[in-house]
């Protein structure tokens, strides 16, 4: 009987290097408060945000991704030409096709890599890590560049009180490759698809083409999303810790999606982490950058010297879909 062969890869994978890029402008609450009839105090109290980063109009989401990717590849100690797959997590790349990933591949000089986009909103980075980990360990790809990048400022209505003022522009990138030790735990992921209407756009592109309506922008039912994230996501986080064969007290660093500081605070209470756990709180300065938020928060912790290589980090992304993904990783 004819039998096909399969590949097997290394037993383990790890994050080899990380890079980040933020929008060029630091936008204060005061600059955004007028059109939403709000104030700096209200925004800080409700979200923990002091500033958010926003890119210049001429800066594209691929520009941000390229800067982050080059830093990640350099940090990983490999050449760009060694990247065999690019997974680009974004929902704000403004062209239906080709995807952002092949455009980035061409710019970086890995123009023969497998290259595709993932649209999983604020869970996109953790979704892409799940895929990259599996690809490496299956022998399907030796070095995977994972990018989480968004330019949400292109898709917000400044008069929208539900979400617009939270959002920022940025990119994070990591290279995942072979490892002699386990360094990426199993991903616990899924969805609550009945919640799809809770975070969405005001219209589809076809609606915009055919009807006399404003350009489609983001909106959310903030209260319901807050409830889901604050009280359902800690259970997912706990499952990811257990899946990695660990206990909550083994976690050195907690890097949740930077959706709202009050969600982060509620999650810390519920997951039962150590009192001295280091927590990513980049949202205060960068805002909510969706798929970029976890790698940007990680980069800030690394830059500030708050974490070190080898620390055990719990990451959890959650957002529009509603979709979520969590995994424990060893920091590069």
């Amino acid at each position: 009987m004819t039998r096909i062969s399969i590949k097997r890869g290394p037993e383990f994978s790890r994050i080899l290097g990380l890079g980040a890029a933020r929008g060029e402008n630091l936008v204060t609450n005061d600059e955004l408060a007028g059109p939403i009839d709000s104030s700096d105090e209200w925004i800080r109290q409700r979200t923990g945000i002091v500033t958010r980063v926003r890119a210049n109009p001429e800066t594209s989401v691929v520009d941000l991704a390229e800067r982050a990717a080059r830093d990640a590849i350099a940090a990983a100690g490999i050449d760009a030409g060694q990247i065999t797959t690019i997974i680009f997590s974004t929902f704000t790349y403004p062209t239906m096709t080709p995807g952002a990933a092949p455009v980035l591949a061409d710019r970086l000089g890995c123009g023969t890599a497998a290259a595709y986009d993932v649209s999983a909103a604020c869970a996109g980075y953790c979704y892409a890590i799940a895929q990259a980990d599996a690809l490496v360990r299956a022998g399907q790809s030796e070095y995977v560049l994972v990018v989480g990048a968004e330019k949400m400022s292109d898709f917000v209505d400044p008069t929208d009180r539900s979400i617009s003022f939270l959002l920022g522009d940025g990119a994070g990138a990591i290279v995942i490759g072979p490892s002699t030790e386990p360094a990426i735990g199993p991903t616990v992921w899924g969805s609550k698809a009945e919640g799809a209407p809770l975070i969405d756009m005001t219209a589809s592109w076809l609606d915009f083409r055919d009807k006399d309506i404003p350009f489609p922008t983001l909106r959310q039912e903030g209260g319901s999303v807050f409830k889901w994230a604050s009280f359902e996501m800690p259970k997912v986080a706990a499952q990811a810790i257990e899946a990695a064969g660990l206990k909550p007290e083994d976690i050195d660093v907690f890097i949740p999606h930077q959706a709202n500081m009050r969600i982060i605070d509620q999650m810390i209470k519920s997951v039962g982490l150590r009192d001295d756990v280091v927590v990513g709180r980049d949202i205060a300065d960068s805002g909510n950058t969706s798929a970029a938020s976890i790698p940007l928060a990680t980069e800030r912790l690394m830059r500030d010297g708050a974490v070190k290589s080898g620390d055990i980090a719990l990451q959890i992304g959650f957002g529009a879909g509603l979709v979520f993904a969590a995994q424990v990783v060893v920091l590069p």
Binding site: R46, E221, G222, G223, K227, S230, F231, N260
Partner: protein
Amino acid sequence: MALSDTEVLAGLAEIVAEETGLDAAEVVGDKSFTDDLDIDSLSMMTIVTLAEEKFDVRIPDEDVKNLVTVNDAVQYITGAQS
């Protein structure tokens, strides 16, 4: 066994005090959550979730906006108990 209005109010006051730092004694029936107790919509969601767990009831998100006063919440919870 279903709790009385008084018992539900006491339990709710405890939750509100824990979440907001207010004195439980301030959480009385005719007070408005937003206007009198200065509780914003995100804290309200936390209070509702904790009340669901404490009293073993379901409070759908779309019903939360109708819980304007403490009494509204007490009546809803006692009515929802099976």
